[in-house]
Structure formats: C-alpha cells, structure tokens
C-alpha cells in the first residue's frame, strides 16, 4: 500500500497553481510585515524640526525619535527663561528672573541667583582665570561703550581708560555650597554625588557689570541638549545663532556634519564630522563697523578695551560636555591668538580650528581627520 499526499493526488496543473497561490500569499504577507516594520522604524526615528527666534538669535532644532513637537517647544520655553536669567537688559522676562541684570544693578550688594546662572558664572570665572583675562565675564562696562548689539560706535579713548578698571573677574564673588546630587545610572538606579552650587553673587565695585554674551548662545545649546536628554529623544541638533549642540545618534548612525562659515568669503569653508558635543565659532566678520577707513569688530580684548588683534579671523571650538564653554573658549582663543589659544584648548581637552588673516587653517590634533576643507584660498597649516 503506497501513501499519497492530498497534493500529490491533484493533477500537475492544479498543484502548480496551488503553489503559485501559496507563493503570492507569502509575498503579500512579507510585504505587509515589511511595511509594518518600516512604519514602526519610521515612527521611532521620526524627524521633527522647529525654527524660532529666542534669545535674540535664530534657533533651529531638528530632533529624531520625538513623538511630537513637545520637546522642541519645551526647549523654546527653557531658552526664554535662560535669556531672562542671563540678559543685562531690563525688559526681558520677570524682574525676579533677571539674575545678571539684578547683579549689575546691586552696586556691590549680594544678589540671589538661579543655580543655572551660578554654574555659568563659575564656569566663566574659571575660564577668565585660565585664559589670563583674555575672556572676562565682567566686560559689561566696556561692551556697553561699544554697543555692538544696538548702535555700534567708536568710544572715546578716555572713556575706555576710565571704564577698564571695572573689568576684573577677580572682583566677582560667588557664594558656594555643597549638596548631594542624585546622578542617574544606566540601569535606572541613582548614585549620590557631591555637587557644588552657587546661590548668590556680588560685584565688589559699583559700576561693574557682567556680560555673558560670549557664552550665552553656547549655554542655550547646553540647556537644549539637557531637555532632549530628559525627553528621551534619540538624537538632536540645535543651533542658537552660530553655536551648535549635537546629541545622541542619528537613525543612519552617521556622524553629524557641521559646516563652518567662510570667514573671508561667502558660504562655508569646510565641514566637520562629529559624534556629538558642542561647537561654537567666534569670527571678526560677524559684527563690525568701519570708521575713518578702519574696521572695528565685536570681539573685544578685556585687557585693552579694544577689538582683539591676534592675527586671527575665526576660531571654532568643540567641547564634549559644555556648550557655554565651547562658546567662551572660542572668544578666549580668538583674543589669545593661535599659540596660547591652542594651549588653552589642550588644557580643557577641547578641539579647535583657527583661521588666520593669511588664510592658514590650523587644527588641533583631534580634528585633523574630522575636518574637510572645501573653501578656496585656504591652506591647512
């Protein structure tokens, strides 16, 4: 007795037709599964973007893995609060929020400040110390004379000479206190860590004024990245003016590409491939005016009260953890010049790109492989 399967009992044509139908069904099933998988991946990696004007800057956000615009809107709110904390202007935000403006008006008295402002002032003071005063957060009285943000003009030399003694970061005092901070671990648990916060600040001499303009945009990038981390998004790019914050891994797993503005011509001079962190640029081309045939740019040397003359036209700096520091370092390095600027970056473990007046581009060792020069008229030094 021989065994015959039901299929074998069918005539060859029917068997062939049945197999063909089976193949079609399988193909349709695979197609549906494929679409479902693609839809799932697309949803998880969805790209959201939002352009806005906050902190007197054009803010551009691109976020991957957010399910709505909410994290991006939260960043706008956070940056508006930060602007109120850091501005020296009297009309931004609520009076109780204006840490820097209140400090500048206190005439030597101690003022309570937010922890965010305190941390930033401490970071700025440390940078001032390590740069030998090439960066100084108390540059307010001199920058007010030049007024680059409103109606720039060449101040009288006497005015600069009278104002310069008010620029002195050592006369900025910060109260500090230690506290236990719960640092989240990867497994969801928390570890207690000792942190330092700065609840109050004072300026020793009436007339002194803090101006954190050289760190503000970078600090905003830092605040935005903190929001993205808390929101649990996969990756994000935020630009505040010319400062950039990079977070996470993009869905294509490729590095972030950041183009660098051409300081002498139009467009960009090259592209950086980066895995994350913060990038800021200080260039003499951005804000300037001309008087009596001479050009005056906005990057002031706190030690002279005049625009820095270091032979550089642009400095781009990357820091892994701090947007404010990348911004402040870019200004400090521009003022210091190539040699001292390189040494300062090394001391912070930061990377950078210096462009001098002759078009020579100098890179820190960590950026040699990350920068592609595309602009004309430049040579890598």
């Amino acid at each position: 007795m021989s065994f015959t399967s039901p299929e074998q009992a069918l005539p060859p044509e029917r068997r062939k037709a049945k197999r063909f139908a089976l193949c079609l069904t399988l193909a349709a099933l695979l197609l549906v599964l494929g679409f479902g998988f693609f839809h799932f991946i697309s949803r998880a990696n969805r790209e959201e973007s939002l352009d806005s004007f906050v902190m007197g800057s054009y803010v551009r956000q691109t976020v991957w893995g957010a399910q709505s615009q909410e994290p991006l809107m939260d960043v706008c709110v956070r940056l508006a609060e930060l602007e109120a904390h850091l501005t020296w202007r009297d009309f931004v935000g609520e009076e109780s929020q204006r840490d820097v403006a209140n400090l500048n008006h206190a005439r030597g008295k101690k003022v309570e400040i937010s922890s965010e402002t305190g941390t930033l002032l401490a970071e700025a003071q440390e940078l001032a110390k390590r740069s030998g005063g090439a960066f100084d957060p108390t540059i307010g009285p001199v920058s007010a004379l030049w007024s680059f943000d409103d109606s720039p003009s060449l101040p009288e030399p006497e005015a600069i000479a009278q104002t310069l003694p008010l620029v002195d970061y050592t006369k900025l005092s910060l109260d500090s206190e230690e506290y236990l901070e719960a640092v989240p671990n990867e497994d969801g648990s928390h570890t207690d860590s000792l942190g330092v916060r700065y609840p109050a600040a004072s300026l020793a001499v009436p007339g002194m004024a803090v101006d954190l303009g050289a760190m503000g945009k970078g600090a905003a990038c830092g605040a935005a990245v903190e929001e993205y981390r808390q929101a649990g998004v996969k990756a994000a790019v935020v630009t505040v003016g010319g400062s950039v914050g990079l977070f996470g891994k993009k869905p294509d797993r490729k590095p972030f590409r950041v183009s660098v503005r051409d300081p002498k011509g139009e467009g960009s001079m090259g592209v950086l491939d980066l895995d994350g962190g913060f990038v800021s640029t200080s260039g003499s081309y951005e804000k300037y005016f001309e008087e009596d045939g001479r050009r005056y740019h906005h990057l002031l040397d706190p030690r002279t009260g005049y625009p820095a003359e270091s032979g550089l036209v642009s400095v781009t700096v990357w820091c892994e953890d701090s947007g404010a520091l990348s911004d402040g370092l870019a200004t400090a390095c521009f003022v210091l010049g190539l040699e001292d600027g390189m040494a300062l970056l090394e001391s912070y473990g930061a990377q950078g790109l210096f462009v001098d007046e002759a078009g020579i581009v100098t890179l820190t060792p960590g950026w040699a492989e990350r920068f592609s020069l595309t602009g004309e008229g430049y040579t890598i030094g």
Binding site: P12, R15, K16, R19, F20, C23, D51, S52, F53, G56, S57, Y58, R60, T62, S151, V237, T239, G241, G242, S243, V244, L246, K250, F256, R257, V258, S259, V260, R261, G265, E266, G267, S268, V271, V279, S280, T281, G283, Y285, E286, K287, T316
Partner: protein, 130 residues
Amino acid sequence: MAEFKERQVFTRRELPVLALLALGALGLLFWLRAVPSGRTAVLEVEGAEIARRELSALSGPESLKITGANGVELEVEFSPEGARVASAACPDKTCQRTGLLTKAGECAVCLPGRVVLKLEGGDEPDAQTY
C-alpha cells in the same frame, strides 16, 4: 527530470523576465540614490514660509522685495547659482554680508526683520557654525 520541473515555482522561461525585473528594481534604487536632489531656496518671515524657489529651475536672477518684522525691508535675489540678501534696511546688515548662499544648509538671517533665507537640499549638513 519531469518531477524536478513540477517542483519548480517558476519555469525556466519565466526566469529571465524575473531577472530583468530584479535588475530593473536594483537599477531604479541606485539611480534614486545617485541623483542629487536640487537646491531649494526657502524664504521665511517670522517662521512663515513666504517664498520657495528650485534654483536649477530658474533661467536667470529673480529679485523679490519683502517687508520683515518691525518694518525692515529686504531685497532677496534668487539665481541658478544660489540665493542672497541683496540689500537690507537695517543697521547691522549681517544677512547682507553673509553673501551668496550656494550650498544646502547655508542660511542668512536678519534678526531685526525676523527673516531667514536658507538653502535646502539632499546633501545638506546638519548645522552651520559661525
């Protein structure tokens, strides 16, 4: 041999057609990936898009006069080579000094007028530092 033929899902005559289809699909995929998407200039005032130009589709320069926020007047020029703010009636003229935008990802911003001119395209970098 007859049994082998019966087990085949497709006949030998059908295989070249299927191979051609597969090659066609692969070719289409490579073509779609290889062809660069064109640069598009986008002009926004206070976050709202007011003009968009595919630069390669332009036969010559095209000028557009706009009024941004706070009554700031600007003249924007689109051309096959790129886009630029030709003139701006504001004190700092930062957007005008940015010059001709030629690569995707570049932008010129007029802060007083809340105007953004940017180039979009396939090879756009993620951000620009300046």
